[in-house]
Subunit: 422 residues, 2 copies
């Protein structure tokens, strides 16, 4: 008998018919002798509907008081889901009880609309499990020290599920979603992409942060911090597939280095076309320029991703970085109006039509030449590399957006991702 946490996304909860199927699947696990905690998302479309209503009525200024009300409103979507799922479980003959974030309680800080979980009190949930109940807990939300409802931000239900699993020391946290696992790359770009049966936590973290939309990155961080075994699997299989088969399906996110020895050097290709590149040209090369350029950018709440500073020629250098495409124009204005005059730089150039392509693999740590193989492959395809950034387990390049699919397909092939058995 194990303690298992299931998380179901909004699509899986999208209708009463689908909720009934979720209940049947959970009941199957409970009947197999497992203690079950379930974290469902709001029914698909519901959070957007609620926030749409809120947007029509919101004041122009985004104050904490306003964000507090957004959380009050948005959190109801998950509350409806847990109640409906508990009813469906009862209809399946299970004992079941649902809890809102504040009832568990899931304690968070007071950063409305993007709160962080501080602690989870599992006393109540444990008592229910011991009494044979399936416990259904709202994702996405908690309560702050003053008793206000908070939400964790978009995709927060993944984080809730992992946090609950961590707090309860669950044996496994199963994230049911509309894809059947983590792939070597997006199958819509490379039809030969393969599902990975396991992926290391660190690789998953890179893939999530590099634009693979399977899991919310904070949930992966949480899983890593508390070493919660986490599995991504499909909610579109028939609910009555044999439990042994289901328990091995999807992709397991592991923490055991040993298991990786046999794996490929590169596990996957991630990509992201949400970024834009800006370059401050002709910056006087003296100490502190990075801070003088990026300080005002950070103050304007603009996130910076890749940063690149070349060696200087004649006492002047170029300083480039990437930002989210939504922040592109704002960044250009800021640099032109504030930074360039203050710094005595020559000008600002920018390009919103770029993308970032990355190879990710824990095996890169112990294999030399992986990055150069990547550059060689892109060169053969005639793709010019604009920026490069590396970490222990990934190498990213910024290239022209129009080459994105070509680059991903070429790299996928070059690293034999369409062949090796994972």
């Amino acid at each position: 008998m194990a303690l298992i946490v299931h998380k179901y996304g909004g699509t899986s909860m999208g209708s009463t018919e689908r909720i009934r199927n979720v209940a049947k699947r959970v009941a199957k696990w409970a009947r197999a002798g497992h203690q079950m905690v379930v974290v469902p998302s709001a029914m698909s479309g519901e959070t957007n509907r609620l926030l749409g209503l809120a947007k029509e009525l919101s004041p122009a200024e985004q104050t904490a008081a306003m964000l507090r009300e957004l959380d009050m409103i948005a959190s109801t979507g998950e509350q409806v889901s847990v109640g409906l799922l508990a009813l469906a479980l009862q209809a399946e003959g299970m004992q079941s009880v649902s809890y809102s974030g504040w009832q568990v309680p899931v304690k968070t800080d007071s950063a409305f609309t993007k709160a962080r979980i501080e602690s989870i009190d599992d006393l109540r949930v444990r008592a229910d499990l011991a009494a044979g109940k399936v416990v259904v807990i709202t994702g996405f939300q908690g309560i702050d020290a003053e008793g206000h409802i908070t939400t964790l931000g978009r995709g927060g239900s993944d984080t809730s599920a992992v946090a609950v699993a961590a707090a309860m020391k669950a044996d496994e946290c199963l994230i049911y979603t509309d894809v059947d696992g983590v792939y070597t790359t997006d199958p819509r770009v490379v039809p030969e992409a393969r599902r990975l049966s396991t992926v290391s936590f660190e690789e998953m973290l890179e893939m999530a942060s590099l634009g693979s939309k399977v899991l919310q990155i904070r949930s992966v961080e949480f899983a890593g911090k508390y070493r919660v075994p986490m599995r991504v699997l499909s909610s579109f299989t028939s609910w009555d597939i044999p439990i042994d088969e289901e328990a091995k399906s999807g992709t397991l996110i592991t923490f055991e280095e040993d298991e990786k020895m046999e794996q490929a050097v590169v596990s996957g290709i991630a990509f992201n076309r949400d970024e834009a590149k800006v370059t401050v040209v002709g910056v006087p090369d003296k100490p502190g320029i990075a801070f003088q350029i990026l300080g005002p950018v950070a103050e304007a709440n603009i996130d910076v991703d890749v940063i690149l500073q070349n060696v200087s020629h004649g006492g002047r250098t170029d300083f480039s970085f990437t930002v989210h495409r939504n922040d592109y124009q704002r960044t250009l204005d800021l640099l032109r109006n504030q930074v360039v005059p203050a710094l005595g730089a020559a000008e600002v150039a920018g390009d919103p039509k770029i993308c970032k392509v990355s190879i990710v693999g824990i095996g890169m740590r112990s294999h030399v030449g992986v990055a150069s193989k990547m550059f060689g492959c892109l060169s053969e395809e005639g793709i010019n590399i604009q920026m490069i950034t590396t970490s222990e387990i990934k190498t990213s390049v910024v290239i022209d957006e129009k080459y994105m699919e070509l680059a991903v397909r070429a790299l996928h092939k070059a690293f034999d991702l369409d062949q090796a058995a994972a």
Copy 2:
């Protein structure tokens, strides 16, 4: 400066456009210097939508665990409303904060779907009012001693508003609704029906319990118990009508006997076609028969309204009572299968096509002949009276359903309700 509670029904909250108008109206009152607490219902249709989803998934058996989940689900409708209204108030430039029942907290017993309010802690709300905020509180819901969400049953938001007003010793509780006050009778039946500018609490209680749908009866009981001045008025006036005019509109429910001296003997005609009549025929007339008949009925959770036992002839009597029409068949079956055999009665007769018509007026206390005038009026119209029941301030008759409109119109005229100035 007064402390004022506003309550808005689902229709008034039916769209973001209407919510914006509610906010403008509340802001007008706040700007006039009043401390404002607002209790809005769920957006119209929302509670039905939520309970519809729940019904599709509910187990066949109605357990406490199931009812608990219904409350978890249904309570979200009001939570969305308070958040949206607080946002709309902020957009109007007011400081505003919303609270769910559990956040106030509004403490109730654990009777899910029909809980009763036990206490309201007004500490938090008072602090917000003192800080200049408009406080928006969910109607319809509370929290029990174990931290479960409860709801008060249909129309419970009226009760919530009055309970909040009572707990805070508010100067007045204004119930905004889709009618502009309490009428002498339903204007759809009698076009000459007049709006009453005041009505006594006791009359309102009788009218509410006799089928007038303007206010939920429990809210009137609450208002009476705590002597909360309560006004029913229209939410369909323009939000910017002068506040002095608005403050005098609608119908005030009063507790001052003096004000009644000048009033008509009869204040209104109520009617109700939700009932059915059953008669146990040929009951041996001995002590305890009322209990022997109504005991099993009460055990089956069937509410009994009018009860009538005639004098006996030859040691046998007939025992009649009315129940809600939805309980009619169940009552007949129960009497036939359990009561008649146990009692040795002759048979059970019934009639679902009846209605109850009542004259209500606090002046009846001090005026003789009011009941006989009623009977005379009905006799003139050739309407046969099947049952009669009276209290200090009302006289009700049960008649054939088909005469209902005729009876109401005739009585309205006979008691000069279409003429006197209220």
